[in-house]
């Protein structure tokens, strides 16, 4: 486990991306192929199936540490991380065994082998593992069971390191890491090195994400080079049909086919295969439904007939990435749209679920600015501006695509502190402090306390209670996990705040359950708004 422990310690001790990439490359050079695959898996939210419940782990850890369970629970509450709590309450004794005899995949196999064992055997094996590992290793071992390695390593970073290590394009690696693969039965060769394109039918492409326009549209040049597309307020999705099989991915790289049976019919119609980039959108009577409606479907695995009828969903198609089995991302946007348009009439059924997202004609930027004022009525967030000759890029890139959102300005921020409310809401956590990313660090920049429903406040309060990592009087520091979209009327410089900015009238616009903390906005994004 030494290489992995060294890697983890190195990653954990720096906030700098370059140093992290270096550490990952070093690991890839030293570790076994199977350990490589597992590290890629662990840092892209894949973990071994859980074979021991956390409640058993808590019980055994308390017993091992010679403390009552309630004290373990109180301590866990303060620490905020179960794997860490367990690792640290168990006294460090001199190790009798050389834990390096077993590598990362070895320990994972050890954990997976517990699956069908009786509780007594599980206990014996886990306690024995704790005895063989030092504190740092014990922590990692526990993390393998509980999941959630939070060391500021994104899939993007792993991709970068792998590209460096294998001398391949980042795009190629990114595509290979997407989709469904099981670290337990794929080799490094198959996953990364082999030349043949994997035949995993469900594999999506990395999304091309746009930045918010940070100047005037005039700066983009002549209107004729650009296309304006309404920016719909749903969840970005990728609809795939390959060899007649249909898959739907959400932007969080989650396979959500089962949640949206609306698209099942596409497997049985007669048309070329495709991969469409679009927006999953609640849609009824030719109008989008408010995002809050769609949200009711996001959290559920299976949907009831009633939900299906109340909140029907469509895919607003923006772009075509693959046509008839061919990756066409390097064709121009105009060409891709033409193919998309040609493809969509094939779907024409009495009740099509894939709608071509409208483009807006405009002769001048002024004209477009006027149209943009209709955004709210149309239940859109403004425009996406796309260059006609742009190819489809990977990840968030500047230059060819821009978000031109309507006011108020918004920012996606991570909640880091919570405080109880007053009066009617005294038993709920309603006052929050939010942060955005500055490199790998979160800096707080705004407080807000209105905008959620009582139900949502209740849900957030539950989260706060379970995820407190520190307390300062009435204020609780919580795990930075929940992302909220804040709306605000203005932004000013401020020397009073660590972030250097202050927002005017910030309020919670909505809870972005579809976003992970890593996907929240950056301080640079806010500083750019300041410039306007």
């Amino acid at each position: 486990m030494k290489h992995f422990t060294d890697l983890f310690v190195a990653l954990d001790q720096t906030t700098k991306t370059t140093v992290k990439v270096k550490a990952l490359v070093r690991f890839f050079q030293q570790a076994s192929d199977q350990d490589k695959v597992w590290v890629i898996a662990l840092f892209s939210h894949r973990r071994p199936r859980r074979t021991v419940t956390t409640s058993l782990l808590r019980e055994w850890a308390a017993e091992k540490a010679n403390i009552p369970l309630w004290l373990f629970e109180e301590t866990y509450h303060v620490v905020g991380d179960l794997a860490e709590t367990i690792a640290k309450v168990i006294p460090n004794e001199d190790l009798k065994v050389d834990s390096n005899a077993v590598d990362l995949s070895g320990w994972i196999a050890y954990i997976m082998a517990l699956k069908d064992e009786e509780e007594a055997i599980k206990k014996e094996r886990i306690l024995s593992a704790w005895d063989q590992l030092n504190m740092e290793e014990r922590f990692l071992f526990n993390k393998l069971i509980t999941g959630g390695f939070r060391v500021g390593v994104s899939q993007k970073l792993v991709t970068k390191a792998l590209a460096k290590f294998t001398d391949k394009e980042e795009n190629t690696i990114a595509h290979r890491l997407m989709g469904n693969w099981d670290p337990a039965d794929i080799s490094f060769e198959e996953l990364i090195l082999s030349e043949s394109v994997s035949d995993d039918l469900s594999k999506p492409y990395p999304f091309y994400l746009a930045y918010a326009l940070d100047g005037e549209p005039e700066d983009l040049g002549i209107p004729n080079d650009w296309v304006a597309e309404w920016k719909w307020d749903g969840i970005r999705g990728q609809l795939i049909r390959r060899k007649g099989e249909v898959f739907l991915w959400s932007r969080g790289e989650e396979l959500v086919t089962d949640k949206y049976p609306e698209f099942d019919y596409l497997s049985s119609i007669d048309c070329p295969d495709f991969v469409i980039d679009g927006e999953i959108l609640g849609y009824q009577d030719d109008m989008p439904l408010p995002f809050q409606q769609l949200q009711k479907r996001i959290g559920r695995k299976k949907v009831s007939k009633k939900t299906l009828a109340d909140i029907p969903v469509v895919l607003m198609a923006y772009d075509l990435l693959e046509y008839n089995g061919e990756d066409i991302r390097t064709k121009s946007y105009e060409e891709r749209r033409l193919l998309l348009k040609g493809l969509l009439p094939e779907f024409i059924f009495p009740d099509t679920k894939v709608i071509l997202s409208q483009q807006q004609d405009f002769k001048s930027w002024d004209e477009l600015a006027k149209l943009r004022e209709e955004s709210r009525e149309r239940r859109t967030e403004g425009f996406m501006l796309k260059k006609k000759n742009s190819d489809y890029k990977t990840g968030r890139k500047r230059g060819d695509w821009w978000k031109w959102k309507i006011d108020p300005m918004t920012v996606d921020a991570v909640m880091i502190y919570a405080m109880r409310g007053h009066g009617r809401r005294a038993n709920l956590y309603t006052d929050f402090t939010f942060a955005v990313w500055k490199g790998e660090e979160l800096v707080s920049f705004a407080k807000a306390y209105s905008g959620l429903t009582d139900d949502e406040f209740r849900e957030v309060s539950q989260f706060v209670k379970k995820n407190t990592i520190d307390r300062f009087g009435p204020v609780r520091a919580v795990k930075p996990e929940l992302v909220f979209e804040l709306a605000f009327e203005g932004i000013n410089e401020s020397s009073r705040h660590k972030s250097g900015i202050a927002l005017r009238f910030p309020r919670i616009k909505r809870w972005r359950k579809d976003k992970k903390a890593k996907e929240a906005d950056t301080l640079v994004y806010l500083q750019n708004l300041l410039q306007q």
Partner: protein
């Protein structure tokens, strides 16, 4: 009525009309040690150990202070008070209070490990023990301090090789000197932030020996710091003072670094687990060693810790201090 009570102004001995570490102005104050949450200004008369006197004077200016040697005692209205090493920082003392055969001990802050620079902890026996419990949770178990000094020196020398400044934050009184004492002077130059340098001067005057270091002054250029280790108080990292360093790695030396979350929130590159407080094991050992029946935890996780002690068979009850848990700074500055 008990010999020592917790009053609005602090811990109070009515029989002698004396306060211990009071946080509001009183006539007679016995001070356990020089940290600002224990030695406050405004009292008419102060009593402390000799090595603490210079520190308190440095912090509070001209005050009326009588100092004693460790082990010395004095009696007020039949109550005998004496000072005993607490091992927390230079000049830190536990206060032993005896009246008609009943003995109380107030620890102030303490640690059991001998840090090589503070007077080493003395295990006392008593009936009632008022103990700090800043780190009274079973996850706080300190690593061997020599390993931590090695880690600090290794970190420094790795940075020095890359011409990077190593900025280490540590509390100005106690932690800073303890680290200075264990730095490997062969790695490169050592600098101290003004606040620490001034504290050092007061201590050197009182007879403490420290290795050679320089004070950070405005004339110094970024290049002067390129392979240096700079000691600074925690508050300095967020200030304009930092602008003088070019390439810098920030380390934090604190018991709070035992938890990953605490280090990440501090934005430190490296956390070194080094505390001047007793860890979980230390607290439990000290308590057991006193033979006391009544335990009163103060500072930190007092209610959880008391509940644990009750389960262990003690009479335990938390003493709430007036000033904890008020602000976000508490964590950074708990001395």
């Amino acid at each position: 009525m008990s010999l020592i009570e917790s009053k609005e102004k602090g811990l109070y001995c009515k029989q002698a009309d004396v306060y211990i570490d009071p946080w509001k102005p009183v006539d007679k104050a016995i001070i356990t040690h020089g940290h600002s949450d224990h030695s406050r200004k405004g009292h008419k008369a102060y009593a402390c150990v000799h090595s603490s006197k210079a520190i308190i004077r440095h912090r509070l200016g001209p005050i009326n202070v009588t100092s004693y040697a460790y082990g010395d005692s004095f009696t007020v209205n039949g109550v005998q008070f004496s000072f005993h090493p607490a091992g927390h920082i230079i000049g830190s003392a536990q206060i032993r209070v005896e009246y008609k055969g009943e003995v109380w001990v107030i620890t102030g802050d303490y640690k059991l490990d001998d840090d090589g620079i503070s007077e080493a902890y003395e295990q006392l026996q008593c009936h009632s023990f008022i103990t700090e419990s800043t780190f009274g949770l079973p996850v706080y178990n300190w690593p061997n301090q020599n390993e931590v000094y090695d880690d600090i020196n290794n970190w420094w020398s790795e940075n020095a090789e890359e011409n990077k400044t190593s900025l280490l934050t540590a509390y100005s009184l106690g932690k800073a000197q303890r680290i200075l004492h264990h730095l490997d002077v062969d790695i490169g130059p050592i600098y101290c932030h003004g606040a620490i340098a001034n504290m050092n001067d007061a201590l050197i005057e009182a007879g403490v020996k420290l290795p050679y270091y320089e004070k950070v002054t405005p004339e110094l250029k970024p290049d002067d710091f390129k392979n240096a280790l700079v000691l600074a108080p925690p508050a300095a990292t967020g200030s304009a003072w930092m602008k003088r360093f070019k390439q810098v790695s920030i380390g934090v030396a604190s018991g709070w670094m035992a938890l990953r979350g605490a280090r990440r929130r501090r934005g430190a590159d490296r956390g070194f687990i080094l505390s001047d407080h007793a860890d979980w094991k230390g607290l439990n050992m000290a308590i057991k060693g006193t033979g006391a029946e009544n335990i009163y935890p103060t500072h930190g996780y007092t209610s959880i810790f008391s509940k644990w002690l009750v389960a262990e068979g003690y009479n335990a009850q938390p003493i709430e201090t007036a000033f904890i848990g008020e602000s976000l700074e508490v964590e950074t500055e708990t001395p």
